[in-house]
Amino acid sequence: MHSTELEAQDSKLRTDLRDLAQDIVRRAMNRGATASECVIRDGDEFSTLVRLGQVETLKESGSKAIGVRVFNGKRAASTYSSDFSRESLDRMLTSALDLSRITSEDPYAGIPEPEQLGSIGGDLDLYSADVYSLPGQERIAYARRAEKAALDYDPRIKNSEGGSFDAATGHKILANSHGFVGEYRRSYCSVAAVPIAQSENGAMQRDYWFSVARSLIRLESPEHVGKVAAQRTLRRLGAKKVKTAHVPVVFDPLLATSILEHIFEGVNGDSVYRGASFLAGKLGQKIASQNVTVIDDGTMPGGFGTAPFDGEGIPTRRTLVIENGVLKSYVLNTYTAKKLGLQTTANASRGLAGTPGIGPGNYFLQPGTKTPQQIIGEIKEGLYVTEFLGHGANLVTGDYSRGASGLWIYGGELAFPVEEITVAGNLKDMFLNISEIANDLEFRGAVASPTVRIDDLTVGGE
């Protein structure tokens, strides 16, 4: 195929892009900006979906884009382009400078101070070229094997939305007018299966499972993924509604991450300075039960949330967010830190346009010692929730209400599947009512949680 030739072009492109980012910053300054910052993203992707043994889609491509943020004193503006021609880049700069004349003076606007900038050293193990090492047919075979393992697992698995294999690499460059320039590459691959099971009365259930890794060798086998997907689907067959009840709810690890995300949203500096979160002003106070310790760590080698620097060029770090239930730190970027009179936690996330946002590094809940089975075993009657539908969380008030399905716990056992129910409460109480945290922490993304038990929620049903 064409791989050698394209790789040679790629490395030339990389040097060029680093120079280009610095050049854009320089040109913005020459044209009157008081500060500027340029970001370039360059990536490629491959994906294939196999359904009922046949290739359904095959997709392969690459793209890149550039964004610039300029300051005119305390006024900021940003522009971006996917077109790297000379004229387009000129136009991008001109529009940014023009826009920076119409925005408001914001005393807190600006890029970080020079002494804050830098990258953490060492091999962060974020990139492995092996995600593209499989020949085309073997990539398809990965997807096919995952689906086949699911279909073969049980005769009640009668249909499928397919098995898939995806790979991607991304390259990010950031430069600013304090002389910072940094770049990193990250790779990713995943295999997944989405089987459909059917019960005798014809009712269908679907579920999924996946494995994701930065390197192909760390990916779980397609057979394992397919088997787990089948098991997760089968256990939903015959689901029914239950009567409305107030019971403890056990969140499986994937769903428990959503509780962690609500905490993140609640301690996000942007919500905090606006008072748009019930956790605003709670620094040093108890906001969760004693057993809750939450950490954000952008430095973990190989992590899905790892990077050498954040979206503003500040070295990533480890931040203790909650320690034994007490809120120790908000998560901040430069702007929100200044607004709150604090230091940034290097959580700036940078898209192509707009002001930097706030995003997690590797953000997780410290595991406990019990197994999930022990935790379920201690519950007389309750819900083990395995899927949420909808997004019913309000961080201003803490009100929480989501559609759900899962398994009903009766006498310490997973007794039968349930669906078409709601789980509701208030996040203020829910964080304080985290009564158990299991030992099964595993990273399947930047945010990870073990199984957790939260007491006294309303399960809405019949």
Binding site: E56, I196, G390
Partner: protein, 483 residues
């Protein structure tokens, strides 16, 4: 109107080039190939703490190439519109097929274009100062509504998407699609109590829409009203009960409960809870549901879909009976049904699939007041955040952001936001009253499917659903229904 010659003028494309790219796409066989050229320019502005803190503009352009061979789709795209890169992408997409080369039809069929959004000056090209005025006015109006409104974020975003679609069967379509939207978010605070409100709207409209038809003050007041109202909201009840949905945006019920389940791809694969139900009763006789991509100026409307097919109005459910599905080219061909012009995609980086446009229920006979009066104890929900559905088991949710208790036929106290959950294939069988007040939403909907976001519209008249599960928190003994 030759605004549609965009790619020929800006990139020097010729029809000969297009034929050459299609030939490369079919170089390894396959039945069909198409090219989707896109040039998207966008603007966004936000005011926060009464300051315009961010303003941005950008350009994203590229070409996506698709090859269909049987049920297989090969796809590749490029953001570099040079002939070499497009040909390279075409050959990559061609890898899906493995046979002798096919020859595309020579010559393109250009149909007279519809014009559902004939703006003379697209808002992306309008003066930025006018857009700054809009967000500043929204901020002021929201703050002026009530001193308890403490935080306001008002945003404005617009885009202009120029597209060119050509297919190996002679398909040729061009369109220039404007889209604009305002949004106002408010937080109201009193001692020890906070609440939020949100409102917005727009469509495929020019900037003057926000200076005439729907002003920043309109959205600001609506957002502030909701925030203030929520300060006094009680806990929502939990369990099954009668639910009355107000007209307009609560139509998200249809989008989730039946719309997605009727997208043809899920039915071709027999993975939808609606598979095989055409001709069967899936709703009460009072329900007729359509998907209509041809409504002028609407957010969900398109002159042609993203495969070049003109959009249409498609009856999904007629007097309670399921009539058909929403299809794209691939599902129409494989299922032997007609192409309803619902093939849509987020951008040139994405493979098209069947998607909704504007989905709504036709008005019925009932007086909305009678509908509320008929409920002894239930919930009246008028605003929603959004929803989600599991296509396969049919369970869907939608989250009320403004709702009230109905007690003895009267709307009483506001209640906190709650998720409503039901079963798609039978929820509409429990619709016992349909109001005469059909309304479409303000133009805020964005639908996500397989990671692709597209703008859509929804609408309903006032509806009564006899039984739906409400996901509140109120305990029975202290709950919402206690007098």
């Amino acid at each position: 109107m030759d605004k549609n010659r965009f790619f020929f003028e800006h990139y020097g494309l010729t029809e000969r080039d297009l034929e050459r790219y299609l030939a490369a796409a079919l170089s390894a066989g396959g039945e069909y190939a198409d090219l989707y050229f896109e040039y998207l320019s966008s603007t966004s502005l936000m005011v926060d703490e009464s300051m315009v803190k961010s303003a941005s503009q950008g350009i994203s352009a590229g070409c996506g190439i698709r090859v269909i061979a049987g049920e297989r789709t090969g796809y590749a795209y490029t953001d570099d519109l040079s002939p070499e890169r497009i040909l390279h992408a075409a050959r990559t997409a061609a890898l899906i097929a493995s046979g002798p080369a096919k020859t595309p039809t020579i010559g393109f069929q250009k149909r007279p274009a519809r014009s559902l959004y004939p703006v003379t000056l697209p808002s992306v090209d309008a003066e930025i100062t006018a857009k700054v005025e809009l967000v500043m006015r929204a901020d002021q109006a929201a703050r002026a509504y009530d001193p308890r409104i403490k935080e306001v974020r008002a945003s404005y975003a617009d885009e202009l998407r120029n597209i060119l679609i050509v297919g190996s069967d002679g398909t040729f379509a061009e369109d220039s699609q404007p889209l604009a939207r305002m949004n106002v978010g408010c937080i109201a605070k009193t001692d020890g109590n906070s609440a939020r409100g949100s409102a917005g709207g727009g469509g495929r409209v020019a900037l003057d829409f926000f200076f005439g038809e729907k002003t920043p003050e309109y959205f600001a007041k609506e957002s502030a009203r909701q925030a203030i109202l929520q300060l006094d909201a009680r806990e929502a009840p939990a369990g099954e009960m009668e639910v009355v949905l107000g007209p307009g945006w609560p139509g998200v019920l249809l989008h989730e409960a039946v719309g997605h389940g009727l997208e043809a791809d899920f039915n071709r694969k027999q993975t939808s809870a609606f598979a095989g139900l055409v001709g069967k009763r899936v709703a009460s006789e009072k329900c007729t549901v359509v998907d209509n991509g041809t409504m002028p100026w609407r957010r969900g409307s398109l002159n042609v879909d993203d495969e070049g097919q003109p959009t249409q109005s498609t009856v999904l459910i007629e007097k309670g009976v399921l009539k058909g599905y929403l299809s794209d080219k691939l599902s129409a061909k494989l299922m032997g049904i007609s192409d309803t012009g619902n093939g849509r995609r987020e951008s040139y980086e994405h493979i098209p699939m069947p998607r909704m446009t504007n989905t709504y229920m036709l008005a019925g006979q009932d007086d909305p007041h009678d509908i509320v009066r008929s409920v002894k104890r239930g919930v009246y929900a008028v605003n929603f955040g959004g929803g989600q559905v599991d296509i396969t088991n049919g369970k869907f949710v939608f989250s009320a952001s403004e709702a009230y208790l109905i007690e003895d036929g009267r709307i009483t106290a506001p209640i906190k936001g709650a998720t409503l959950i039901g079963n798609g294939p039978d929820v509409l069988t429990r619709v016992s009253m349909v109001g005469n007040d059909l309304k479409l939403d303000e133009g805020v909907g964005t639908c996500g499917k397989d990671g692709q976001a597209v703008p859509v519209g929804v609408g309903i008249p006032t509806l009564k659903v006899d039984r739906l599960t409400v996901g509140g928190t109120a305990k029975k003994d202290t709950g919402g229904f206690m007098q």
